[in-house]
């Protein structure tokens, strides 16, 4: 594991005349919980989609575990779990079936993942929802399903776009514990985009603030917090970076 988990280098992406990502570079190590923060429309979702190969950058490249995700997709993504911003899942499967489905696509046998499936159903409070068709689930249950599916495949790199949207408080707490444990004990690398201060402050080890597709600030949490002075909260730091200290 001497390689870095994710390296994004000089990413540029335009949608028509809109510059979504402008020369963005960052890297994530194993065991890091790296959080992308920024206002709406800053380019967080586009960055994550480029990172997992769903969007092709106009310039730049992304290496996951040393492999270019746009050149060697299958190899680069074989240890990746992903949660999109709005999880479009097969409507007619149940969450339980979906977890088994993604495991099957990764080449796991049922016995390989059975314990993980049970664990994440329990840990993320999916309860009886796992046997209902996905199409009938609430937004929160849908999000939990996507998170569980990303984790049951035993990933070494996890990329999540707004994972805690619409999720109840006790599951948020459980989620943070899971992420922390996986990062510390199993050295899983996390790249997360979020607007949620408790997640950013309580879990993330590294933060990158982006706006209009540009990287404004990047670093480990400790150094980032020093930007607004001693004992500053991330809230204060963020407002200072965005030039809105008077809010």
């Amino acid at each position: 594991m001497s390689l870095r988990a994710i390296i994004a280098d000089g990413l540029v992406k335009k949608f028509g005349s809109i510059m979504a990502i402008n020369n963005l570079s960052f890297s994530v190590d194993y065991g890091d919980i790296y959080c992308l923060v920024g206002p709406n429309g800053a380019g967080k979702t586009t960055t994550l989609r480029i990172t997992v190969g769903l969007l092709k950058p106009d310039r730049g490249c992304v290496l996951i575990e040393g492999r270019d995700v746009h050149v060697n997709r299958a190899e680069a993504l074989k240890n990746v779990g992903y949660v999109p911003d709005y999880p479009n899942l097969p409507s007619y499967l149940t969450p339980l079936e979906f977890m088994y489905y993604v495991s099957a696509l990764r080449g796991f046998k049922r016995s390989d993942v059975e314990d993980y499936v049970k664990y994440y159903i329990d840990a993320l409070n999916l309860g009886d929802e796992v046997k209902k068709p996905i199409r009938t689930l609430s937004r929160g249950a849908l999000q939990k399903t996507a998170i569980a599916a990303a984790l049951v495949v035993k990933p070494r790199v996890v990329i999540m776009d707004e994972p805690l949207t619409n999720i109840e408080i006790d599951t948020q707490i459980a989620f943070k514990k899971i992420v922390r444990r996986l990062a510390v004990v199993e050295k899983v690398a996390f790249l997360i985009s979020s607007h949620m201060l408790p997640l950013i402050e309580g879990v993330c080890t590294h933060v990158a603030v982006i706006d209009k597709g540009r990287l404004l600030v990047e670093g480990d949490m400790e150094s980032i917090l020093k930007i607004a002075g001693e004992r500053a909260s991330f809230e204060e730091v963020y407002l200072k970076i965005m030039g809105k200290s008077n809010v």
């Binding site: 949608f15 007619y92 099957a104």
Partner: protein, 535 residues
């Protein structure tokens, strides 16, 4: 009244925007819909000019004459449709629970400081304006049989939408609340029964099938009024007719809708969700997906078996329709033609032979696009978790070729029975390479559409696709594929007229199908590997 018109404007523009601007703002993204509209209206105008020119040059009666030509077959079909419409509306509002659905994009109007009658009137007017604009597509088909048929269609539609629907809806809600709904049900059931018995009695008495005026008049009445007006005052009758219908609608709705309650309206999305949950409930009475041997096996099972309509359930669902269509074809050919009521070679026969396939194709488009939308929305799952996109594409092409073949089998089965010419089925078999090819083209066009579609919200917009915007994008490619496939079957039928050709053409056809399947799947998998998945 001003506020009702304002609501109408909002509803109309909302529907219009969701139809023509299927993409996010941006010049390029507006282009396909715009070009399509220009081409469509160009073709429509060309047809109209051609028909007008050919009819005038042969000295036929005025194209603007709205009177029926006295053709008994068309009158019979007209009476039958009128009776069916009135029975449908009664069943909807007085036999079953009838609400008026409110479209998600205008739900907020219910919670604004507006009178309910203003919202309701505005909704009706806005919807009517939009439907009138969009149904020119259907009118274009009718133009072939004469402009007066377009008149019948438009004037009866306006009457139904502005008078019949609101009147029945409001009165059913008022009667339900007053506690006399059971009595109303009995009255309307009695009315339908009397109408049916009167139809049977007059049919037996005259020796030819007839639909009772009791059932057909409530729909046909206003059209007869239009003809009377035409005879009295000439072309100005169209204006008078519109004024009468619109003012009656406003009067009826503004007086009666004051008794409406907000609970009389339900969200379109709620109805859709209830329907879907019911369908899903039954679809889950199946084995659970927990075993697989390889990743490809898992993918095959999920794409082909664990969907709401897999080819097996689709067959189960469509076999009764196929049998019904075949029996209907048989009845029309054997019974009605022997009675002398129906002549297959005449306009009625042509209308029937064209209308049934069009109806089946149109009905199929919505469920195919829902299916395909469901498969494509999960493309990210395949891109992230699977190694084998080519296999996924092969499954998609195979699935939709099969679905399209099942639908075409119903149509050709109906036409074969109707015309007593079973070479139609041969034509279908021989068209399999083209069916695969059009499915490929449809998926390819879809991929180009999806590439341009930027982040789509999970819900919004109008009608069924409101709940599923991707499904809305799929209308054009699916309709295109279905129409092309049907046209190809027609062309093949002209070339191949006998079963004797079957042993000769079947082996090369199957071989060609396989080659096309393999080549197109490989090509599509490359496209789907590169495509931006932004939804």
């Amino acid at each position: 009244m001003y506020r009702a018109l304002l609501v109408a404007r909002i509803v109309f523009l909302n529907m219009l925007k969701s139809t023509w601007r299927q993409y996010r703002p941006g010049k390029l993204r507006k282009k396909p819909g715009f070009i399509l509209a220009i081409v469509y209206y160009g073709v429509l105008i060309a047809i109209l000019v051609y028909i007008a020119w050919s009819k005038w040059s042969t000295g036929e009666q005025s194209l603007l004459d709205p009177r029926l030509s006295g053709n008994t077959v068309l009158e019979f079909i007209g009476d039958l449709l009128s009776a069916l419409v009135i029975v449908f509306v009664i069943t909807r509002y007085f036999i079953r629970e009838g609400f008026t659905m409110i479209l998600p994009d205008v739900e907020f109007l219910l919670y604004q400081p507006l009178h309910l009658w203003e919202v309701y009137t505005g909704m009706i007017l806005g919807t009517v304006m939009y439907i009138l604009l969009s149904t020119t597509l259907l009118s274009a088909l009718l133009v072939v049989y004469g402009l007066w048929l377009v008149y019948i269609f438009i004037y009866i539609s306006i009457y139904l939408m502005l008078i019949v629907e609101p009147l029945f809806f409001i009165s059913s809600r008022i009667i339900r609340r007053s506690g006399y709904f059971d009595i109303a049900q009995v009255i309307f059931l009695g009315y339908i029964t009397i109408g049916i018995f009167h139809s049977l009695f007059t049919s037996l008495y005259t020796g030819t099938p007839r639909i009772s005026i009791i059932l057909s008049y409530p729909v046909k009445g206003p059209y007869i009024l239009l003809i009377k007006l035409y005879e009295l005052i000439g072309h100005i009758c169209f204006l008078v007719y519109f004024v009468i219908i619109f003012s009656t609608c406003l009067l009826v709705v503004s007086i009666l809708s004051k008794r409406l309650d907000i609970s009389d309206f339900v969200s379109f999305r709620d109805i859709y969700e209830i329907k879907l949950s019911r369908e899903l409930g039954s679809s889950l009475k199946r084995e659970v997906f927990t075993t697989w041997s390889t990743p490809n096996d898992a993918m095959r099972r999920v794409i082909l078996e664990f969907t709401i309509y897999n080819p097996r359930t689709l067959l189960k669902k469509y076999i009764p329709i196929f049998i019904t269509a075949t029996i209907a074809g048989f009845i029309v050919r054997v019974v009605l033609t022997r009675l002398g009521v129906f002549v297959l070679e005449g306009p009625g026969g042509v209308l029937l032979i064209s209308a049934v396939p069009m109806g089946v194709l149109y009905a199929s488009i919505s469920f195919i696009r829902e299916l395909l939308s469901n498969d494509l929305k999960c493309l990210w799952v395949i891109r992230i978790y699977s190694v084998n996109i080519e296999y996924f594409i092969k499954l998609l092409v195979a699935k939709y070729s099969l679905v399209l073949s099942i639908i075409l089998a119903i149509i050709t089965g109906f036409i074969a029975t109707l015309s007593n010419d079973f070479a139609w089925l041969l034509a279908l078999l021989s068209s399999s390479p083209i069916i695969i090819l059009v499915v490929f083209i449809a998926i390819l066009i879809t991929s180009l559409f999806l590439k341009r579609a930027r982040s789509l919200e999970p819900a919004s917009e109008v009608f069924k696709p409101i709940v599923d915007p991707i499904s809305q994008l799929l209308f054009i490619p699916i309709a295109f594929a279905a129409m092309i496939a049907y046209t190809i079957v027609l062309l093949v039928k002209i070339i191949l007229t006998n079963y004797i050709y079957l042993p000769i053409i079947l082996p090369p056809t199957l071989l060609l199908s396989y080659v096309i399947f393999t080549v197109t799947s490989r090509f599509l998998s490359r496209v789907f590997l590169e495509i931006d998945v932004n939804f």
